[in-house]
């Protein structure tokens, strides 16, 4: 499996050459393609957001509903990431270290959210927790509103961002092996201590990469929360839903401003992702 199992080159940089002749053309074509595809739209977004000037941009951004939407996005992102980080690690440990019938089914379940369109994810929650839903009597007894309220949006976000921690950790845990842990056990360490002190530190870059992917996915969620939230302004509206509504309300500056904030935040996340990814690859070479 690429990037994890195979041995890396001594130093890839030494094997790269400067392009000559027709190779230059190839590089130009690729750079041009990436530029038009990726950079163009980004620049367009910046232009759209700042077109009316910095004043309207700032005003739109500091509107209470915009701020609430951004705050809600951040909270949902953190919460979903926390849940998936803890439980995803648990699942990864079970998939790698444990053995029982039906383990392959579990593995498939981890992948399922990737194959699921976000609208279907939101729809699933409506089926489970909406009127007449399978779990509705249970939650109603608990008095916790799920659909058209924040908890439902949290569940939707957890679902769509579920696979990443587990998928990143599984190959890393396989790579690490169990020798160090076995040694720790023979020295009398408890499973908890072995996990905290041996396993986790060894897997930390893979885990952090998975966490950053999870967070990025959670922040960007749209389709599922669109279906499940009711889009109540100032209450159940995330940043993406706010952008969607702002487009409807003839508030292009507001839409573009919040979209730009999301894009910039994604950039920062991207830097983090790259950092963790490189650290993880480097940790294999040693």
């Amino acid at each position: 499996m690429a990037d994890v199992a195979g041995p890396e080159a001594a130093d890839p940089r030494e094997r790269r050459t400067r392009p000559r002749g027709i190779e230059l053309l190839l590089v130009a074509v690729v750079v041009g393609y990436a530029g038009i595809l990726l950079v163009g739209p980004l620049l367009g977004l910046v232009w759209g957001a700042l077109r009316g000037g910095a004043g309207p941009f700032w005003r739109a951004l500091t509107h209470p509903e915009a701020l609430h939407a951004l705050k809600l996005t951040l909270l949902l992102g953190l919460a979903a990431t926390a849940i998936n980080a803890v439980l995803g690690t648990c699942a990864a440990l079970v998939l790698v270290r444990d053995d029982f019938r039906g383990k392959r089914v579990l593995n498939g379940l981890v992948d399922l959210p990737l194959a699921t369109s976000p609208v279907i994810a939101g729809f699933m929650l409506i089926l489970l927790f909406g009127r007449g839903g399978w779990l509705t009597p249970a939650v109603e007894a608990l008095g916790v509103p799920i659909v058209f309220a924040v908890p439902g949006m949290l569940l939707a976000t957890v679902f769509v961002s579920l696979p990443f921690v587990t998928r990143e950790l599984v190959p890393v845990l396989e790579q690490i092996g169990t020798e160090s842990e076995s040694v720790a056990y023979t020295m009398g360490a408890s499973p908890w201590t072995a996990f905290w002190r041996i396993t986790l530190p060894a897997a930390r870059w893979g885990l952090l990469y998975g966490v950053s992917l999870t967070f990025a996915r959670a922040i960007g969620e749209f389709g599922a929360v669109l279906v499940v939230s009711g889009s109540i302004a100032g209450l159940t509206e995330t940043a993406t839903l706010f952008v969607y509504r702002a487009l409807d309300e003839r508030n292009p500056v507001g839409a573009h401003a919040v979209a730009l904030v999301l894009a910039l935040f994604s950039f920062v996340l991207l830097l983090g992702m790259e950092f963790f990814r490189r650290r993880r690859r480097r940790s294999y070479r040693s």
Binding site: V31, L38, D98, A115, E174, G210, S266, F267
Partner: protein
Amino acid sequence: MTPAAGSASAATAPAPARKDAAVPRPWGRWGLRATAIAYLGLAVALPLAAVVEQGFSAGLREFWRNVTGPAAADALQLTLLMAAIMTAVNVVFGVATAYVLARYEFPGRGLLNGLVDLPFAIPTLVTGLMLVVLYGPAGFLGRWMEGRGIQVIFARPGILLALLFVCYPFVVRSVQPVLLGAERSEEEAAWTLGASRWKTFWRVTLPEILPAVLTGALLCFARALGEFGSIVIVAGNIPGRTLTAPVYIFGEIESQNPRSASAVSIVLLTISFVMLLLVDAYSRRPKAAGG
């Protein structure tokens, strides 16, 4: 916004645990197992069961009717078609990008390498918005293209563009590590024997990266099937022309046809999931062969 695990492949079912593997004491192991099963069971299996139940709740014939109705069938066909075209284009440019990143040194190489992951980080809704701003009737490129009679937004090219953006990293990240880790000796041997660059690539490099290309392509395709956020902004919603399956499902949910929505969802889920299973099975082959 579903990045592949840096390895750009589905979670390979891990090798069975060795009996002597260090596992926590029995109660710990059961606790862990129970947690994992509860987590995945409640978070994934249960919602899936709800959709399946809803889709078949009126019987098989009704399910079939919902799936083969005019708008539904068109939406599924369009989705598959757009995904296929996009994947083909993406394979070409993805392999080219991976090759360029792995083999050449040039100013801006690092920036390009980072940018490739951008679609993983950006919300799909923002992607759609950016495309409309740039290619819409009031946008820079949009005005230029409209002058030439090419409509991008609210037409099929717009859908293609959105999918190309969102799925760009899959093939690149799948192929790049293989190129980096590959043995250069065969390539170099081919050059010294007088083969042209292109021939070398075609005969030597390509066969080696083919599994990774296929893996990336399958992931790319599966991802494209479910894309919603960018397409709902950028497409025009006309059945047979610009209405994709996820947007169709959304419409069915909104107009209170849960059974119809479930039926089409099940079809979409099945196709995507089969793709992921293929990726899983395929990416295990080289490991078994290589030992």
